[in-house]
């Protein structure tokens, strides 16, 4: 492993670190919003099942909640694109 590292140029090594950072960064940024979207949709389904007559309003609010929660994951994705070597 070390001999392999010694053979690479310093620029390539930095590019590799950047790629690892980008991948880890996106993965970590997706954890929270994943849980959040799950909570939003799960609770929306529960309330739709309890009160089917309010399904339209619940669906609109659910999309809003998803949009706000998803923004964090998308910022992680933007950082991923920016960090790519």
């Amino acid at each position: 492993m070390l001999s392999l590292l010694a053979q690479t140029a310093p620029g390539e090594f930095l590019d590799g670190l950047k790629a690892i950072g980008a991948g880890l960064g996106y993965g970590l940024a997706a954890v929270g919003p994943g849980v959040g979207i799950g909570l939003v949709v799960g609770n929306a389904i529960t309330s739709m099942a309890r009160q089917p007559e309010s399904a339209g309003m619940v669906r609109t609010t659910m999309f809003l909640g998803i949009a706000f929660t998803e923004a964090l994951a998308l910022i992680g994705f933007v950082v991923f694109i920016l960090l790519l070597p």
Partner: protein, 255 residues
């Protein structure tokens, strides 16, 4: 085995298009601009054809599509978020919905296959337009002082907490809202395009080596294409409904 040495183009190759016409001027035209012009024309033609006078009262064809769109915006966007006095924003919201939809859906149209909104220019322009509109609506309906008071000092918060709440509200109302609106649309389209490109390249590379396993990424490509149609419509809807929510928020402050 050189399957692992998959030739994936750099991200910039997927989103930068060479200029076709008027090179070097600010009016230079490339594929993205052509898609936007086509989307604008499609929106205008849709409502132009739907709005011309006809003999029968029953909507058919193009008119039916346009009327369903207007109905959809009215019932599930405007009435749910702003209320009856938001009807004056119907033309703006409807045309914005169809324009975003038409420039997103080119992602899955064969031989075009590029979502124009995966370039930041139009999403940020639309978001800044929305920013101007909801601020102007807020100042018009509450007065400058009232609008600033309601958006920077939300009622119902203990007085001490204003030290923390006011800077957060300042940044979130005047900076984060338009940028998150633009980034949401743009990043969703970039992610969708990258997803489709990845599976298409995987299919092509596997096809060169053995034929049967190429079916797996190809099936995934078909599934992802269907998913991207959903995402295109959903992102147009979310952009429109968030615009309506922001306008509604500055029109009727919470008491």
């Amino acid at each position: 085995m050189s399957i692992l040495a998959l030739e994936f183009p750099p991200v910039s190759h997927l989103f930068d298009w060479p200029t076709i016409w008027l090179d070097g001027t600010p009016l230079a035209i490339n594929k993205t601009v052509l898609i936007y012009l086509a989307a604008t024309a499609a929106t205008m033609v849709l409502f132009g054809l739907a709005g011309r006078p006809r003999e029968s009262l029953v909507p058919v064809g193009v008119q039916h599509v346009a009327e369903s769109g207007v109905n959809f915006i009215e019932n599930s966007v405007v009435m749910q978020t702003i209320g009856p006095d938001g009807k004056k924003f119907m033309p703006f919201l409807t045309s914005m919905f169809f324009f975003i939809l038409f420039s997103n859906i080119t992602e899955v149209i064969p031989f075009i296959q590029f979502p124009a909104n995966s370039r930041m220019a139009i999403p940020i322009t639309l978001a800044l337009l929305v920013w101007v509109i909801y601020n102007v609506v807020g100042v018009k309906s509450q007065g400058l002082f009232g609008y600033l008071k309601n958006s920077l000092f939300p009622p119902g918060v203990p007085k001490v907490l204003y030290v923390i709440v006011t800077p957060i509200e300042l940044v979130s109302t005047f900076v984060v809202k338009p940028f998150s609106l633009a980034i949401r649309l743009w990043a969703n389209m970039v992610a969708g395009h990258l997803l489709l490109v990845t599976f298409a390249i995987l299919t092509a590379t596997l096809w060169d080596f053995f034929y049967v396993p190429a079916a797996l990424p190809f099936l995934m490509l078909i599934a992802m294409t269907a998913f991207e149609i959903l995402v295109s419509v959903l992102q147009a809807f979310i952009f429109t409904i968030l615009t309506a929510v922001y306008i509604g928020g500055s029109m009727h402050p919470e008491h």
